[in-house]
Symmetry: C2
Subunit: 191 residues, 2 copies
DNA sequence: GTGTCCGGAATGAATATTCATTCCCTTAGC
DNA sequence: GCTAAGGGAATGAATATTCATTCCGGACAC
């Protein structure tokens, strides 16, 4: 196994185990054994567990953004743009349940709270795209005049909730249901 | 301090600390000291930490349901009923952020996953009220024809997301914004 | 005086992290 | 081409810490 393969194995094992069992249920020893390396080896690639956790989060972000923005055309009408982003986000989460679970775990941990707070002040990667979309929508009077944070809640809250149900096997989400869900989110934010 | 006061103090301390720091950041010793009792005393009231955690969850449920159902009239029109329940839920969470944070932590832990699964099969306390409302709405053709789980996602997803933002101080939620938020949720589920 | 309840130190299990040792690949010498 | 030395990477047993749970001496009620 080459050096970079090894790093990749470690990250993959950590993703799987943490997504499935949470941060508590993911001791280094378990991650190491799943990755097929020694426990000490992990510390050759990551200074400590926290840094591994943060690095993994960042890797997921870097997979998610390009996926969502593929084919996105900022010149199209608001509604169309929203449907594109919403559907892409929903699809990514459904197709990458481990990533989704991991990000959820992360946000619900001390790591996440700090990060979200930092994001709010500085610019967040994808956040800017959505913020621009909503502000465009408000000024064109096609979106409700609400704080952007509330519009985000109306748009993403249901999407993530649906993904959770899908992962827990409460709802079977197919293409048709994805489209209907995103359309309903649009109904929530449009004037 | 009387016996029942002591129990109450323990529960209150556990709620505060777990809501704020999560299950990991809430060792028994810390809960005990916040409650003003010895660590061993907690085990006189709760057989172990898991049982304390579960009991606390149940207490919160038992506060929440009556609050939401106060003044609820199942004979009124669908829309009105939804606005009542949604507003009550949102208000409860805003006014009792510790309860909200605790329940979120709980749902995102191994305890919660098992519980949600059990709920899905058997009857869940308040769940029945909402299920009945949505099914009524569908049969009266005022609510979108979607799985009840998806309707729940559309209705509650945004509410909880707004509460999260409020607690993190990202959004200041007053009465007016609460009403607008719930109304927007209605737009999401209505035909 | 006896029994009940408390407190908080003691215990032992679980876990992150360290580090002395081993392993293996590259390269230099012949 | 073959062997040996050197060095960086990997290892996993040992360590230190954290934490739930237990236990026992003492305080208090009656």
């Amino acid at each position: 196994m080459s050096k970079s393969e090894k790093r990749e194995e470690i990250v993959r094992a950590a993703l799987e185990i943490i997504a499935e069992h949470g941060f508590h249920g993911a001791p280094i020893a378990m991650i190491a054994s799943r990755a097929g390396v020694g426990a000490g080896t992990i510390y050759r690639y990551f200074a400590n567990k926290d840094i591994l956790i943060a690095a993994l989060y960042q890797e997921i972000e870097e997979r998610l953004y390009p996926f969502i923005l593929r084919g996105y055309e900022p010149a199209r009408p608001i509604r169309e743009r929203f449907l594109h982003l919403g559907a892409a986000l929903l699809r990514y989460c459904i197709e990458n349940p481990l990533d989704f679970r991991y990000v959820e775990q992360f946000h619900n941990s001390p790591y996440g709270a700090a990060l979200r707070r930092a994001r709010l002040l500085g610019e967040g990667g994808e956040r800017e795209t959505f913020r621009a979309l909503f502000e465009d929508g408000i000024s064109q009077q096609v979106v409700k005049e609400l704080p952007v944070t509330v519009l985000c809640a109306l748009a993403f809250g249901p999407i993530f909730a649906v993904v959770r149900d899908h992962i827990l096997d409460f709802t079977r989400v197919d293409d048709a249901l994805m489209a209907k869900t995103v359309a309903a989110c649009w109904d929530g934010i449009r004037r």
